[in-house]
Amino acid sequence: MNLATDVGRDAWIVPLICTFIGMFLFWWFLYIIRHSEQKTIYSLFKQSLGQAGGSILGVIYITYFIYICARDMRDFSELITNAVLPSVPLEWITLCFMATVMYVLWIGEQNFINLFVIFGYTVAAIFIVFVVLVIADGQFDFHNLLPIMGDGIGPLLPSTFTQVMEFPFGELIAFTAFAGTMFPNLPGKVVRAGVFSVLISGLLITLTILIELITFGPSIRERALFPLVSAARNISIGNFIERIEMLVIFAIMLAAIVKVCIFAYAALQGVVWYTGKAYKSLIIPYLLLTTVISYYVSNNMSEHIIVGLGFIPVFIHIPLQFVIPALLLILILIKSRWRKQNDRSIV
């Protein structure tokens, strides 16, 4: 999915702004979990809205997580069917991808977090190599970026607030589902580390969009469905270091696996909270469900983009990522003030 396409030349400014919004968001989400002494967002619903309301909201969030997980799986499989294996059916590739995700989830959350640390190192290494090769290749032109914000901040705002703020950064809400269980009382160090990593990943997204803009300018970037892969295809140094898009696809795959695992794990924590069954026994059914939904997420690639970057951020991300956490925040503040009063009255 390429971000902020309608802004064209200044597309790299939008994720830069959203990085700082994302940092605040992440701090806000963890603040809710920390100050409500609840482990997960589901228990928080139960505590603040009672049994009935809480479980309805919890089920809605599980559906939301599964749906976003399916969307992401479909997005990655489209990349593979278009760029790597053109005549292998999409269903088969999604199945193989799901088998890997199943095994990664099967080994338990402590292990797959260590695994993601390894993925982090690999993706960082691949990204550095990619940036060095783009610069060494020399076929870039900084003038594509100028004039920076030629039409002012105006055209940037709609895509900032209706698309980029929700798509990569709003989705941090998935962490609220299991951050409490993984780090019992969410010490300050964890929150700081989380916020710092959101900053780093935001800068990473900005840098990728910058590279895409530099290599082939705004008009092609708008039409390219997988801009990073197309940017990697243009590198050709000395007629030997030439075709490294496989490296970039490997890095994208690792990122996709991490994202799908996080969302699936968040959904599974919800299901475990509501049905009380063992986490490992739920992996197979729910991932099969995600695969089936990923087949029917959209009919063709353009629909996938229109719905994914147009409709969903506004009508699904905003309520679930901003409105409900805001309500929770207010409820927690009222409760803590109310508790402070009757503490004072008792004393």
């Binding site: 026994s281 739920l282 197979i284 099969l288 009919n299 719905v307």
Partner: protein, 78 residues
């Protein structure tokens, strides 16, 4: 059978959300999407395996009320 019911509920809810998201752009029509036989067959197959898996797990748990972990172990080396 709590697990299977919850699973079917989730399946319906997510498909509902899926169709809701797709419904808003006009030229999307239901038939084209759900009439591709290849995709339909694979989807049905997967859903059946998922539901059967849930039912088997539930059935195993019916005998031992403990949580699913032992059931899972029996199922694996049963």
């Amino acid at each position: 059978m709590k697990r299977t019911y919850f699973f079917i509920l989730m399946f319906l809810l997510v498909t509902a959300l899926d169709i809701l998201c797709l419904f808003q752009n006009e030229q999307w029509n239901f038939l084209v999407m759900y009439s591709q036989s290849k995709k339909l067959v694979v989807a049905i197959l997967l859903m059946i395996t998922a539901i059967i898996y849930c039912a088997v797990m539930d059935w195993k748990e019916r005998k031992k009320p403990g949580d699913g972990r032992e059931a899972l172990r029996d199922q694996k080396n049963g």
